[in-house]
Assembly symmetry: D2
């Protein structure tokens, strides 16, 4: 299943500014980039770096004052595996791959150490496995209002637990937090989200179950089989689409994703578990 993704970002740079940008589709096992193109205007030199493990691709740009435009488009082939959710187990901590142990730890926006008692009370008695993480997502969907503008870049899962309102990023943070509190490795994923309306960058999360990372979207706004991931990390602090060091004004952006084969276009949101790595 192939998708065409595109994003355009516009800035007005006021003083020499370093941009860390993370807008390109991640290079992942089940997410293959067919063609892509990144254009900067002005054409400042870029340096590339990647998070080996998650496949997130960053560029660093030293931008000079003036208008600065970033345009990315690519065609990405997704090869996600769909599985029956009830067949997917959790893994004992003692058997987790050692290189993902840190996805059990609390992070800036996911204070799993503080929400542990709640998570164990609410979800501790449920049957372990993919269905338990779905129960977590259902809880979030049912107990937190999706309200644009109700949170900001400093809002954490701790806050959302009390305030009960947020956007996709907050929903993902809360899901990650509950998973980690139950000893399920979980991480944040930003991406291009097929069928998201209106189009925008989206945030979901992944939980490590039965030897694979599985996607979850507690907002229920996107079709998981059409989630082209950009950044993967501990939480939003690892996956900002743009971080600026200097003075620059964000002027606007546009984001799009389209299915580019016919079969996909007809496809219903899956009811299966979606494994991505």
């Amino acid at each position: 299943m192939r998708f065409a993704v595109r994003s355009s970002l516009d800035y007005e740079v006021k003083s020499p500014t370093v941009f860390i940008l993370n807008v390109e589709a991640a290079a992942l096992h089940r997410q293959r980039i067919i063609v892509e193109s990144l254009n900067l205007n002005p054409n400042f030199p870029i340096e590339r770096f990647a998070d080996d493990e998650g496949g997130s691709r960053f560029i660093r740009v030293n931008a000079e004052p003036g208008p600065f435009h970033v345009d990315y488009h690519g065609i990405v082939e997704m090869d996600m595996i769909e599985k029956a959710p009830e067949t997917i187990p959790e893994m004992p901590v003692g058997e987790l791959p050692l290189d993902i142990m840190h996805y059990l730890y609390p992070s800036r926006f996911c204070q799993s150490d503080l929400l542990g008692r709640f998570a164990r009370r609410e979800f501790g008695e449920l049957e372990p496995g993919h269905t338990r993480v779905t129960a977590i997502c259902n809880w979030i969907h049912d107990h937190v209002d999706y309200v644009s503008g109700s949170s900001d870049s400093q809002t954490s899962a701790y806050d959302t637990m009390v305030l009960r309102a947020g956007v996709c990023r907050d929903f993902a943070h809360l899901g990650i937090t509950f998973c980690r509190a139950l000893n399920i490795p979980a991480r944040f994923a930003s991406g291009y989200a097929w069928q998201l309306d209106p189009p925008d960058f989206h945030a979901v999360f992944e939980a490590y179950l039965g030897g694979e990372w599985y996607l979850f979207d507690p907002t229920r706004q996107s079709a998981l089989q059409g989630l082209v991931r950009i950044g993967v990390g501990r939480d939003a602090s690892d996956a900002a689409f743009s971080t600026m060091y200097g003075e620059a004004e964000f002027k606007g952006m546009s984001v799009s994703i389209d299915a580019i084969d016919e079969s996909a276009a007809d496809k219903e949101p899956t009811t299966q578990a979606v494994a991505v790595g």
Copy 2:
């Protein structure tokens, strides 16, 4: 129904210290003090003051260095009214007595402005009235663990909402917070609690319904008809049994309450609503 209450507090005063003590039974409409005695050793002079509205009685003592012992005992007649809970309505904000409007406002430990969305989602659709406040207490009892030592004097309802553990004071704060968020006036009450085991100062809360203050104990540890109130206020910051300005060490205390007529001693915890004023 009469109760004998007693409390003894021991301090070692290190430097001249002002004590604000609030251990005497409050003088309230339905709580009449038959006899009482307050003894300080050494017998420092005291100044008395009271919160007119709630009837809380405070003393201020300028204590000199050395051992300092406070002993209070009294016999209190309680004249609480028991009513069928389902007959007790909430009152529209526009009809509340004007002198209790401030019990709708957030306070140090009861951030009702922050927990409003949760309260409305969880309790907003319930039938208004005494039964709704009971539903709030049931929620607290079912969702928060009573764990000695899990909180401290700085723990607020905001924290308890996330951490999901606390003691009587935290349970009361959470109940107050939810009530205020639903526009039900609510206040904190400390007291001597009959049948509390082990004996200790206790904390409950009152909600203003149908023209009366009604008692609620989300911990379910005390018998409401045997709750001899000491301090009443916005939250625990208004009703500390002891506040010290100076250097003094708290060495220990004992607290007791006994029913002193036979009928009382047999009495079961009531299933009725208990109005106290």
Copy 3:
């Protein structure tokens, strides 16, 4: 010294809504109302209540759907006392009037229990008295940025201590918090502020020193001798100019204050301490 004050508030009421309004000049010892007029349009019936101690005057209005306009104007004579700051002492806790002891306690936006160590470290060694509270104001002025829009109605002194930005209300909360942490009674005051530019409701604080309440404005934006107080209380939760229970939209307001005798108009901001009660 006389001032003409005026405020106009506009609302669009969507469903029957209870308003608690606090826009009239407070009736205080040294603040005498010469003439005044409150007009509501439509002319809904009002109920009045007051906080005896502080003199704040509230009205409760049951408003029906439709446009709702509130207009208040009055002439107020101020009789504040100016004193040499260095002559004004702090009072020992043991000698404070008993009816203001609660202004030592922490409140919703003034967590003096949490900021105590800082306050004692930073201000504990200073000479007690009016000059120490001025030092507190200077610290706030020098260490917190006045930035419109940087805080909201839920921001507390705890937050401002970390975030280091706020508006008049946050500055006042921080000043109150430091005072209480040093055992100086302190309270919040809202008012019409002469020479404030642009005109708006303003927030300052009062500290109890040498037997009087003294005004302080850590923002340095107003002339203290021209501060016509409206609401006085523990913090902003006691002194909101408008609280709504129901659905109503705030459409805008205007606020003004003018000196109405010639001598006043010439007057410089005082460098003296200003006692108000």
Copy 4:
């Protein structure tokens, strides 16, 4: 300069428990392990994993119920470089090695996004470089009380900024937070600390300056040239000496470090900057 380090940990395991232990000296460029020995009793099988970048070495143990004892000792040769502090510059964000960019991001205990305004106000005007980070350490030392028991494993830099008390871990978190807020990469380091009295695991931090990681100890309790690092990471959540998944009781531990060549034993705490990587 060589050091003998040793740690012993005692647990009583109640149910099968997974331990993640991080007590071995890290394998780092300027910290060479001469000999070492890790003994578990009972001798459960272990799995090893390391954080490539920082050199932290973890073991995972599946422990069965009963007493569980961990003993580690090693001899480590330290080859730190001492440099004149005033010669060490900060690096522009645009020139930082790309693989350490994440040490600019906020983390669980280091909310550099929230403390940015304070950091820039307080330290923003200082000359960039090693001396500025020393100024940060001096500020922490002067403004935060070192008080055992004043914080716990959930205390973050945000809290410490208000509460102004903590232990080594809190001091390190605050230092890291200020550095990141100033765009200086910074990370947490746990270790065996020569001359720390009483002996214990210690926490310090590293800042990336002029192409090297430099050690800083805002507590001033250890000699930097004798800091044998164990764990390095974003904050304490990456460098716990022990994390348990299961039921086990911590019974006690002992930690020691001794200089094992004569010259070292005489050495004064350095006044130079200490580079470790």
